[in-house]
């Protein structure tokens, strides 16, 4: 990747608050280069899912962005009107959701649900959408596409549903995919297959992925870059290889020691040290002290 290439997604100093004024994103900056997987890792409340939602423009009403820019392939989302923004997000991005069951409409067959997006949003013809979907189902190694396309969501296994959603996400050749904990609900053996699929399709299609996860193990396997989040703040960002070789932030180190490793049981599963948490609290407080929303 050349350094001059335009990033696929760039987030600059993004801050968001709840209705009661509490900050949930704290000047988050990150970039995803074309064709790269960036992991967003953090524990619950870290705001990792919220960043994904902000990019896709689907933040809940209770969350308000007060500062910052989100730029998709050079286009500043903040400068577009609502309709142009939706069109841009619809054409260039896609989502692989956490829970494949609630992401699919239970009362409609898989086939029409998959082609809908291509036909309605991108204006493809029905035939073109149909053949594209079949091609993608083949890529995600679904052997009997006829049966799957005719099925209702509850008739498929969890892994199968996730394959369908991955196929749907890649179908429109988005430049950026937000993968929101896509394997958290799955068994480990299925998780491995799904991660492998995502990695393969990502490489073949050259898609950039913003990969939201709580699992450092998954981060190590799937991503090239990583941002570690705590309480809506990026506490460390690095190339994945470097992060695992020499984590810089105390929280990252603590997180790594807390993550279970059956190969080394006595050097893992270590509770996070109180001083690390105190340090984080101080860091957050200092950041909030210095922060003034630009228009507030």
């Amino acid at each position: 990747m050349s350094a001059t290439a335009k990033p696929c997604l760039e987030i600059r100093s993004l801050s968001a608050v709840l209705a009661n004024g509490q900050r949930v994103l704290r000047s988050v900056s990150l970039a995803v280069q074309p064709g790269e997987v960036r992991a967003l890792v953090g524990e619950s409340g870290a705001g990792k899912t919220m960043i994904g939602k902000a990019v896709l423009g689907v933040l809940p009403k209770s969350v308000r962005i007060v500062e910052g820019e989100m730029i998709i392939e050079g286009e500043d989302l903040g400068r577009l009107d609502a309709k142009a923004r939706r069109t841009l997000i619809g054409a260039r991005t896609a989502l692989i959701p956490q829970d494949p069951l609630t992401a699919l409409n239970p009362s409609r067959r898989i086939g029409p649900q998959m082609t809908d997006r291509l036909v309605r949003i991108l204006g493809w013809s029905g035939d073109r959408a149909d053949s594209r979907i079949r091609q993608l189902l083949d890529e995600v190694q679904i052997r009997d596409p006829e049966r799957v396309l005719k099925s209702y969501p509850h008739e498929l296994s969890g892994g199968m549903r996730q394959r369908v959603l991955i196929a749907a996400a890649f179908a429109a050749e988005p430049r950026l995919i937000v993968a929101d904990e896509p394997t958290t609900a799955l068994d480990v053996t299925v998780q491995k297959q799904i991660l492998r699929l995502i990695a393969e399709l990502q490489r073949d299609h050259g898609t950039a992925i913003l990969f939201v996860t709580h699992d450092l193990g998954v981060v190590a396997k799937i991503s090239q870059k990583v941002s570690v989040l705590y309480a809506g703040k990026v506490v460390e960002e690095a190339a994945t290889v470097d992060l695992f070789a020499s984590p810089q932030h105390p929280y990252t180190r603590a997180l790594m020691l807390a993550t279970p490793r059956y190969t080394d049981p006595y050097a893992s599963l270590k509770p996070v040290d109180e001083t690390v948490l105190a340090g984080l609290a101080a860091e957050i407080a200092a950041a909030d002290q210095a922060w003034r929303p630009s228009h507030g």
Binding site: L18, A19, N20, Q22, S44, G45, P60, S62, V63
Partner: protein
Amino acid sequence: MDKARTSSRRTSPRLWLAGGWLLLALLAAILAPLVAPQDPLAQDLMLERLPPFWLDGAEPGYWLGTDSLGRDLLSRLIFGGRIAFIVAFAAAASACLIGSALGLIAGYFGGWADRIISRVVDIWLAFPPVLFAILLVAVLGTGLSSVIIAIAVIDWTRFCRVIRAEAMSQARMDYVESARIAGYGRMGIMLREVLPNVLPSVVALLSLEMGIAVIVEAILSFVNLSISTDDPTWGGMIAEGRLSIHQAWWVLVFPLTTLILTVLCFSQFGEGLKARFDPVLR
């Protein structure tokens, strides 16, 4: 993760507005002999169809005007409120007790108890309620207690259905299993773990049912099947008002408004109470 914070514990204005009106109406009904400006039964043909106080021709002391027999509307509304509230409390409480108990048993115990209770509810729901009520009162004879019995007998199913569904979802909670692990018997679990969690719904339904009882009583009065025709009731007043709508709209409009407002306040009060209980759950 944000839900807990956004559903803060605001006191809702609807709870206070609805509660305020109900309290006012209730006090007026209890203290009717003291607060009613006139005798609600006193007829005076000299004073027939007096308009309310802000229109020409109104008489002082007859704030809301009079009906075609010259009886004071405000006083009749206040006395009619007594019947309305007695029916509301007695009928709703009976329906609530029967329905909630059966619903709790059906939902928590399941099995045969559930099958039998649910079938009975299904059969009950197949009857058109108003016809059912009229039929019952016709059989039991008119009178206050018949009206109360009729409403309770018809409307217990409303409690039963809702409480059954809630008890069923409660029965699946881990704290129910946990109570078994702690050594509680089924009855103990039902009362200790399940009941407190369905109580907010019971309260909300109870309030809603009071409103419905007021309506049903009004309907029965309207078709002259409630209590003796001499005693003022809101339904009876509406029936009479209907006859003189072209000469004196107020004879119809005031009891109708009072009825609608009271029923609305009952349902809003119930919802408000439930919402006030609920933030604990998240």
